[in-house]
Each structure stands twice: as C-alpha cells, then as structure tokens.
C-alpha cells in the first residue's frame, strides 16, 4: 500500500472541477467530495478506531478543505493535498482531545469496516482492522501512517511532533501487539 503515495504524488494541474470549487461552486466541491470521501473516511476510521468519530473527522476534513481550497496550487494531485490535510485534521483533533476518556477506542464499531469499496477477504481483514482499532492511540497513529498509508518515519515525526526514535518505537510496539492479537 506504500506505493499508493507514489501514485498520489504524480504532478497534477488544477482540474476544472477544483478550479470551479475554488471559485465557490459548491456542486463542484460536492463532486470532489464524492470522488475522495471513501479514502478519507478509511484514513479517519483507522486513525481514530471509531466509526462515529471517523464520520465527524471526515466532515471536518472536507469543511477544512473548503476553507483552504483557495491555497491549493496544483503542485500535487488534489487527492494528495486532501490526504495530507486529513492527517493534519486528525492529528490536530487528537491534540485537542488530549487523552480524554471516551475518544480512545472504538472496538464496537467494526461494522464500519463492512463496506469496503473493493472486494477483500472479510474474515482476515476484519480481524486485522479490529486489531488495529484496539491499538493504543499513539501506536495506532504511527502504524496507520507508516504501514498503511506509506509515510516515512521522518514525515510522521514532523506531522506528529515526536522524535523519529519515538516513532520507530511506537511502530515496533504496534506491530508486536498486532501480531500477538492475530496469533502470529
């Protein structure tokens, strides 16, 4: 899945739809939403581990995208720009949430994973999604960004405001906990 980033990073001019949305065309922005919502929701879901929270975060991402869209210059694909924005929104929300009880785990929201947009082995996949959702928040964030989304440790460290060494330790912890959870 790390190769996704290579695809996302392909140079792209501002498309007609993006240009119209930048000019305030809500219909054009809705089209951008429809084209990207599933990937953004998947990111929010895995990073938050909670289906309801992921829906809130997804909405926040698109509202923030609307606010920031004028600053998008087409130096990368719109989806790349939006993905980065989504990571910032999720991490920002976690900083805002602090460590409050009630927003940490979402182990009863596994039905949220039941509507993938492409076929997959449901048993193994749901087990893995379930295990990811039950990771401690810090470990889950690093694991999702590194192993699922293909970010480098240095990028995660910068985004997350942590040391690279801490990032690597969290990834090691996450992988070990996942293997234990999956009996591997």
């Amino acid at each position: 899945m790390a190769t996704m980033l290579v695809e996302r990073d392909a140079p792209s001019a501002v498309t007609e739809t993006v240009r119209r949305a930048q000019q305030g065309d809500v219909d054009a922005f809705e089209r951008l939403y429809r084209e990207n919502v599933d990937r953004i929701y998947a990111l929010c879901l895995r990073m938050s581990g909670d289906g309801v929270r992921a829906q809130e975060l997804t909405q926040d991402v698109f509202v923030r995208a609307w606010e920031k869209l004028g600053g998008f210059e087409g130096k990368s694909a719109f989806s790349t720009w939006l993905h980065r924005l989504a990571v910032n929104v999720v991490l920002g929300s976690r900083r805002a949430d602090g460590i409050r009880v009630g927003k940490v785990f979402g182990t009863d929201d596994l039905e949220a994973y039941e509507t993938p947009t492409r076929p997959a082995d449901p048993g193994d996949r749901v087990d893995l999604e379930r295990a990811i959702a039950t990771l401690p928040p810090g470990a889950r964030t690093v694991f999702v960004l590194h192993d699922v989304e293909g970010y480098k440790h240095e990028e995660i460290a910068e985004l997350h405001g942590i040391a690279v060494g801490t990032c690597k330790a969290q990834l090691h912890r996450a992988r070990r906990l996942l293997r234990e959870a999956l009996d591997r």
């Binding site: 305030g24 996949r125 590194h146």
Partner: protein
C-alpha cells in the same frame, strides 16, 4: 551485526528502510539466526496483510449534507489562509450524544461515579506539588463519564495543558511516575468496579462478544504492562506517563462500553 543490533533493526529491515550496507549485514545475520529470521518473516507476513487492506472504505451514511451545511459561501478570489499544518479542528470536539438505557441505569450510575473520580484523580495526579509544565497548543478536556456527554475543560490563555513534568534526577522533586501513582490507583479502582459489574452481565453476553472483549483486554493489559515497565525504568518520562495514562483510559473505556452492551 550483533544479535542485539539485528533485533533493533528488524522493523526497518522488514519495511525495506535499511541502507544497503546494513541490509547486507542483516541478511548475513539472518542466515545464521533462526530467531531473527522468524521474526523478520512474521513482520513481513503482517505487512503483506496490511497491504491487502482496502484503500477506501465507504462510510455507512452520506456525510455530504452535514458538510454542505457548514460551508461558508465564498467569492472567487477571496483570501484564504495558506498555513494548513498544525491546525486544530475545534469542530471535531462536537459532543456525541448516546441515548440512556433504563436497564443499564445502575451501570451508568457507576460509570458516572467512576468517571468523575477518575477525572479528579487524573487532574490531581497531573498536578503534583513539584514540577508542572505547560504544553503549548494542547487543549485540556475533562470527561464526564457515563453521561454520553463530554465537557470541555478550561484552556489557559496559552491554550496549554498541564501535565506532570520530568523532575531532574536527584532533585528531590516528584517524578512523573510518582505524580501519576494516585491517578493510577484510581484507574485501577475504576477497572475493578467496572469488571465487577461486567462479571454480573457476562452470562448475558454472546460468546463471540466475550471472546472479543477478553482478547482486547489482553492487548490493553500487555500495553499497560509494557508502558509501566518502561516508566519504571524512566520515571521522569512525560511521554511514557501519557502513554500509560491513555492506555488506562482505553481499558476503562472498553469496560465502560462492555457494561453498556
């Protein structure tokens, strides 16, 4: 490459992030070390499963209406902020309301009591008489447990959050670990209370639910044990304290949800 060095680098090796020289040294080590070879293979197997996860997941509801209602009309050419990093979404702190269930009033009441005392303990545990540091740009939020509501806490002028700060070794000041201990006792009390309630309801839960619950609790317990062991070795680590605290939070939350099933 020594065995210890190999263990430290196995994650990077499995991710393909080792420089060529280190990768060759690792491969030479793996030829003669079955334990490391098995570890590397296990990590790679996990990564193969991760690579098969769907890139996109459709939300269960159409979120557009909730978004469209929040879009401010914008004229073409209107100035927009360029900075987009480190942005904290205030809207993301919206309350999530959950309807009360009459049959669970007793459990809910217990959760409320536990949550209240827990929040207090956390607050006290993070404000030791000794060193207290303020982290910039981090908001404090105090939970109101069991009510399905969340109450935003007071945010100082700097928007900071008070946490126990590491004390210099030998300074005689309270360490982060020592400052956290009162909160840890309260966490444990909360866990014990919730576990007792859960035990009375265990027979009514589906076997699959019990299995899932026990598996998740085992994961969390392992994380707690790991964080705590690390904190004992590094008692001034604020990060480890937060990690331990958040893991306890997770356990309390999981149990709280379980008693509400």
């Amino acid at each position: 490459m020594t065995h210890e060095q190999a263990i430290e680098r196995l994650d990077d090796y499995a991710s393909g992030e080792l420089p060529d020289i280190e990768r060759r040294l690792m491969e030479r080590h793996l030829e003669g070390c079955g334990a490391c070879r098995a570890e590397a293979e296990a990590i790679r197997a996990l990564l193969a499963d991760v690579a098969a996860l769907p890139v996109a997941v459709a939300p269960s509801a159409d979120l557009w209406q909730g978004i469209a209602g929040r879009l401010e009309p914008r004229a073409a050419g209107a100035p927009v902020p360029v900075e987009e990093t480190n942005v904290i979404s205030l809207d993301s702190r919206r309350k999530v309301w959950q309807p009360p269930r009459w049959a669970l009033q007793i459990a809910a009441a217990l959760v409320m009591v536990v949550g209240s005392s827990l929040a207090t303990a956390k607050y006290l545990g993070r404000r030791p008489a000794g060193p207290v540091a303020t982290l910039p740009s981090v908001a404090a939020v105090t939970p109101a447990q069991g009510t399905g509501q969340e109450v935003e806490g007071t945010v100082g002028a700097s928007g900071g959050r008070q946490v126990a700060a590491p004390a210099p070794a030998g300074s005689g000041q309270m360490t982060a670990l020592a400052a956290f201990r009162p909160a840890e006792r309260e966490y444990q009390q909360a866990v014990d209370d919730l576990a007792r309630v859960l035990e009375t309801r265990r027979a009514s839960l589906a076997p699959e639910t019990v299995t899932t619950l026990e598996r998740n609790l085992a994961i969390i317990d392992a994380a707690i044990a790991e964080s705590r062991a690390a904190l004992v070795n590094d008692p001034n680590s604020r990060e480890l304290t937060e990690m331990l605290s958040s893991t306890y939070d997770a356990k309390v939350q999981l149990l709280r949800r379980a008693v509400q099933l």
